[in-house]
């Protein structure tokens, strides 16, 4: 792999850009791999990358039914933060956030991580108390956040209306080192690094069956034929239930559509991410100037990647109240992605009833920010067969043991 650098740009400029190579190879599948990862989204590619980097396992195939990073990795609002209430959540999201900080250097790929700060507005007395509690919890967890007053909110983001009639801004939970990243670049960067380690990324190859014998997975059937493996990782947001069905077990998850929309580009007007959970909306400005807006999930099971129209109205109505200057803004695009939601709104990283089959799923509405941490933890799980410290609390058995990681109150809305 030729490294990307300022020198490479100069070299290619001098020869009409004829020397750029493809970022990753697209090979045909081999008969057998040590590990097959189903799903070439952020978490799947990160899992493969850390399998190679941390454990030296490189005979790996990453199988994707569509195109690389074309699911929720390419559909989210790119927010990165780790201000969670529960210790195990804070640990994995903070691991992810810290890996994002050096990701561009680690992957030699610009993922445009922008630690511009994330602000979660408190617009009711209950939210004030809740976020103060989270700030204290974060202090104990070693995650740097603080609870700030309305004047500081206005200073950090002047376009917010802090004395709105319905929900005045009473303060905010502020994480200075949170921010945004370029979601596609995260997938592309990991894919390039995986391909460079000799892993096979096989796109447009749908898994149609999971073959097992004696309680162990022996391989998968795909639209490109059967492929054998020693270990299987299922890392497929939105389709976890369908794959678990093929493998013959059930998941404590339901799939719903989550929507986002983006406005026409305007001049820079906000340089932080603002989340307003009471009124249901969050917004940041992309480098192109578009306002990136996240909305709500549908209340019913749904695989349509579309979402209900009234959520757009609710989200926009809430945001216009919080940011009056956007009232005349035109929206350019709207889209939906399918998210798997668990009972406690926390993900599942753990073993399955099939001994050599592992799962990373159920990130609900907040998987993007966790990509490096989720991949790191899942790679450890697959390599060792047992979860490491990051994944230990996230096994599916927590539902039978009543040991929840309850983020449904802390982050049930905007995640």
């Amino acid at each position: 792999m030729r490294r990307y650098s300022a020198f490479a740009i100069a070299r290619e400029a001098a020869r009409y850009h004829t020397g750029w190579e493809r970022a990753w190879a697209s090979p045909e599948p081999k008969k057998k791999y040590d590990v097959i990862i189903v799903g070439a989204g952020g978490h799947g590619l990160a899992t493969a990358f850390y399998l190679g980097k941390n454990f030296g396992i490189t005979n790996v195939a990453i199988i994707e039914k569509g195109w690389l990073g074309g699911g929720n990795t390419g559909r989210n609002t790119t927010i990165i933060r780790s201000n969670y209430l529960q210790d195990s959540s804070a640990a994995i999201y903070e691991k992810a956030r810290s890996l994002y900080e050096t990701m561009s250097q680690d992957l030699n790929y610009n993922v445009m991580f922008s630690p511009r700060g994330v602000m979660m507005l408190a617009q009711t007395e209950h939210e004030v108390r809740g976020y103060q509690r989270t700030a204290h919890a974060n202090a104990l967890q070693g995650v740097k956040t603080e609870f700030i007053g309305p004047e500081r909110v206005k200073e950090l983001c002047p376009i917010i209306c802090i004395d709105g009639p319905r929900y005045p801004v009473l303060g905010a939970l502020w994480q200075e080192r949170g921010g945004t990243g370029r979601h596609d670049a995260v997938a592309w960067g990991y894919a390039r690094a995986c391909s460079d380690m000799g892993m096979d990324i096989i796109q447009k190859c749908e898994v149609v069956g999971v073959r097992s014998s004696g309680g162990k997975v022996v391989g998968v059937d795909t639209t490109k034929g059967p492929i054998d493996c020693d270990k299987l990782g299922l890392v497929v947001a939105g389709n976890s239930g369908a794959l678990a069905n093929m493998a013959g077990f059930r998941l404590p998850m339901e799939s719903v559509a989550l929507q986002a929309l983006v406005s026409e580009p305007i001049k820079p007007c906000m340089d932080v991410v603002v989340m307003a959970n009471t009124v249901h909306g969050y917004m940041s400005q992309s480098d192109k100037g578009e306002m990136v807006i996240g909305g709500g999930t549908d209340g019913f099971n749904n695989y349509t990647q579309r979402g209900s129209f009234h959520h757009i109205e609710e989200t926009v109505r809430a945001l216009v109240e919080t940011f009056p200057i956007i009232s005349r803004l035109k929206m350019l695009r709207q889209w939906g992605g399918i998210v798997d939601v668990t009972g406690d709104r926390s993900p599942v990283i753990g073993k399955t009833p099939l001994g050599n089959c592992f799962i990373n799923a159920g990130w609900g509405t907040g998987g993007f920010k966790a990509i490096p941490g989720g991949g790191w933890a899942t790679a450890e799980l697959i390599a060792k067969g047992e979860p490491g410290p990051l994944a230990a609390e996230f096994g599916m058995e927590r539902f039978i043991e009543g040991r929840f990681i309850d983020e449904s109150v802390a982050a049930g809305v905007a995640h």
Binding site: R250, L251, H310, F399
Partner: protein
């Protein structure tokens, strides 16, 4: 926008008038049941790609709970029926069979 007919008051209601209430025909397990049954009742959900049976409430109308058979891939509604039933009525099952021959959902087919 998803519209469902309330089987009680007959109103064709848009989804903003309704509230989705999750999976239908759950068998409830209480204190004294074994852990697996309790977990299954509380957390393990049917999450099919295709026909799904679910509870809805006509919350901004007559207030009644009812059941609906709906496809999660296309949002096609096969019918709604009163909640006081253990199984969907035959005509709804037949309508599903026209679209999805050989469908199954838990122990219904």
């Amino acid at each position: 926008m998803l519209t469902l007919q309330c089987p009680y008051c007959g109103v064709w209601a848009e989804e903003t008038e309704l509230h989705a209430e999750g999976e239908a025909h759950l068998k409830r397990f209480g204190p004294g049941s074994d852990d697996a049954d309790f977990e299954s009742y509380l957390f393990m959900r049917e999450n099919p790609k295709g026909v799904h049976f679910e509870r809805w409430r006509h919350s901004h109308g007559c207030g009644k709970f009812f059941h609906a058979a709906r496809c999660t891939m296309t949002l096609k509604v096969f019918g709604t029926y009163p909640a006081q039933t253990l199984e969907p009525p035959q005509d709804i099952k037949d309508r599903i069979s026209e679209t999805y021959p050989g469908w199954t959902w838990r122990n219904f087919k």
